[in-house]
């Protein structure tokens, strides 16, 4: 489908008010339609649900009283039975049955300073966290909301901003204030995780803090965004890796620059190939490969630029996980969460 040919716009569906301080992250429930979580400097997590009747969103729960400082990031487990939250208070909390009588919260307290990000692997068997102490931790998920430390990965020379598991393989990616993306791989499920590749300036990497990473649906392409004001696309031969050939390195495809003029904080690749970016210039910009239908080399182009998407910096953008809705959620320093729809303009 030639997205570039349609007259598409990012239409604001609803503004979700409630947080009393900046919203750092938003995350869609992967198992239930129309459920979104957001986390904030107000130390809480809010769960928003779309009513099947009215189609409008309301706040269904506020998770508070657990974190004592900013909640920076959150992630639903693949089954959505667990919700992990990362906080400046140095802890990672994993909530089970939140906002019910059987709510149980596991507190992982290992980082020496602020925890910046948390990520579940595709099967939900592993959890990763990272923080300002420069370390990345991998946890084995056990029954009854229990966790066992599986690895402590050091290698980054600065604050680690985000961790993200590959969508189909147990390969872990981390990005940092040290301007690099590191890739951590274990030969088998019992082996140690090692840093098998570092994407830095010398291999066409970023020249300043890398804030966010996202993969396309197939898992053979990755997009990163940075304080250097660029977005970079990377690729690998995923079928070779999946066939057990060992680690196959990622290579740089292209760099998108000149689009944002402030730090790009968040990037997310939708299931149908649209890359969304949120930045400190208050805009949300969408990019697509204009050659995606052909066998030609990819050519990434700006699909649209939403000026003043928020009153302040856009910290997080995330596409809804289903294939049809084309809904995008965003979180901002203006304390708002917004729901957008990518649709044809009238």
């Amino acid at each position: 489908m030639k997205l570039m040919d349609k007259n598409l716009g990012l239409v604001e569906v609803q503004k979700l008010e409630g947080h009393t301080d900046r919203v750092w992250n938003v995350a869609w429930n992967p198992a239930a339609d129309g459920v979104l979580a957001s986390c904030s400097a107000d130390k809480t997590v809010r769960i928003w649900e779309q009513s099947s009747l009215t189609r409008s969103w309301t706040c269904k729960a506020v998770l508070e009283g657990t974190h004592t400082r900013t909640v920076k990031s959150l992630a639903w487990s693949p089954s959505a039975k667990l919700l992990a939250t990362a906080s400046f208070d140095g802890t990672t909390c994993v909530w089970e049955n939140f906002a019910t009588d059987s709510e149980s919260v596991s507190v992982l307290q290992v980082h020496e300073s602020e925890v910046k990000s948390v990520s579940w692997n595709a099967s939900g068997s592993l959890l990763a966290t990272c923080g300002r102490d420069k370390s990345v931790w991998i946890w084995e998920v056990l029954p009854e909301n229990e966790f066992d430390c599986a690895a402590v990965l050091t290698g980054h020379s600065e604050d680690v901003k985000m961790v993200l598991w590959h969508p189909t393989m147990d390969v872990l990616f981390s990005c940092s204030y040290d301007n690099t993306v590191k890739i951590w791989w274990s030969e088998d499920e019992y082996g140690d995780y090692n840093c098998v590749q570092t994407l830095g300036e010398s291999n066409n990497g970023h020249s300043s803090t890398v804030w966010s990473i996202s993969f396309n649906a197939a898992g053979d392409k990755m997009v990163t965004c940075s304080d250097d004001l660029t977005v970079k696309i990377w690729k690998t031969d995923i079928s070779r890796m999946q066939s057990g050939e060992g680690y196959v390195p990622w290579t740089h495809v292209c760099t998108l620059s000149g689009f944002h003029d402030r730090t790009i904080y968040s990037v997310h690749w939708s299931r149908d190939g649209v890359i969304a970016c949120g930045a400190g210039d208050d805009t949300i910009q969408l990019f697509v490969d204009s050659n995606s239908d052909s066998v030609d080399r990819p050519s990434y182009k700006l699909l649209l630029k939403k000026e003043k998407a928020h009153e302040k910096d856009v910290n997080s953008v995330q596409w809804a996980p289903d294939k049809e809705s084309r809904l995008l959620a965003s979180g901002s320093d203006d304390k708002m969460v917004k729901i957008w729809k990518l649709a044809s303009e009238p």
């Binding site: 400097a41 400082r69 900013t70 400046f88 204030y177 803090t209 730090t263 910096d313």
Partner: protein, 166 residues
């Protein structure tokens, strides 16, 4: 641990003759006036005539940043139309470890005084500090600044340099 002040003998400059602001004939407080360099400099250093503003104090001395030429009118670049400001400050000594605190004070003062639409960049004057790039990066990493401002010790230090306004 270094005992004593980092800069025991700061050079104190004579107070610069202030440019007189042309008296505004509009007393209508709802007419927005564009924010310019002088206004931002005033926010940071505060003219003697304005009873409501206070000077940012150097963390180590009773003098203000203006007195020590840490911040001058020329070190403020402002573009009101695009809601952008950049302040360049010159620490008194090249290895000044209080530079992060000074930078944080400048940012906090601007955040509290400017309209929220403003984008703020803070940097040290090129060539004025031993770890210039590292310092600039830290001062402009929004997440690091936010986390730092959640540290009660640091907030106390910043608040001491910025006495509360009336």
């Amino acid at each position: 641990m270094v005992t004593g002040l980092i800069n025991e003998n700061p050079i104190i400059y004579p107070k610069k003759e202030r440019r007189l602001r042309t008296d505004s004939s509009t007393t209508d407080e709802f007419t927005p006036e564009p924010i310019d360099q002088l206004e931002i400099f005033d926010i940071l250093n505060f003219g003697n005539c304005n009873p409501f503003v206070v000077d940012i104090k150097d963390p180590e001395h009773p003098n203000t940043l203006e007195d020590l030429r840490v911040v001058t009118e020329d070190s403020v670049e402002v573009d009101d139309e695009n809601s952008y400001v950049r302040v360049t400050f010159t620490p008194t000594v090249e290895h000044c470890s209080m530079a992060t605190v000074i930078g944080l004070c400048v940012r906090v003062k601007l955040l509290r005084s400017l309209p929220s639409r403003y984008k703020i960049d803070i940097r040290v004057a090129p060539g004025s500090h031993a770890t210039e790039d590292a310092l600039n990066k830290q001062l402009n990493d929004k997440e690091r600044v936010a986390a730092a401002l959640e540290n009660p010790n640091l907030v106390e230090m910043v608040d001491e340099c910025l006495p509360s306004e009336e």
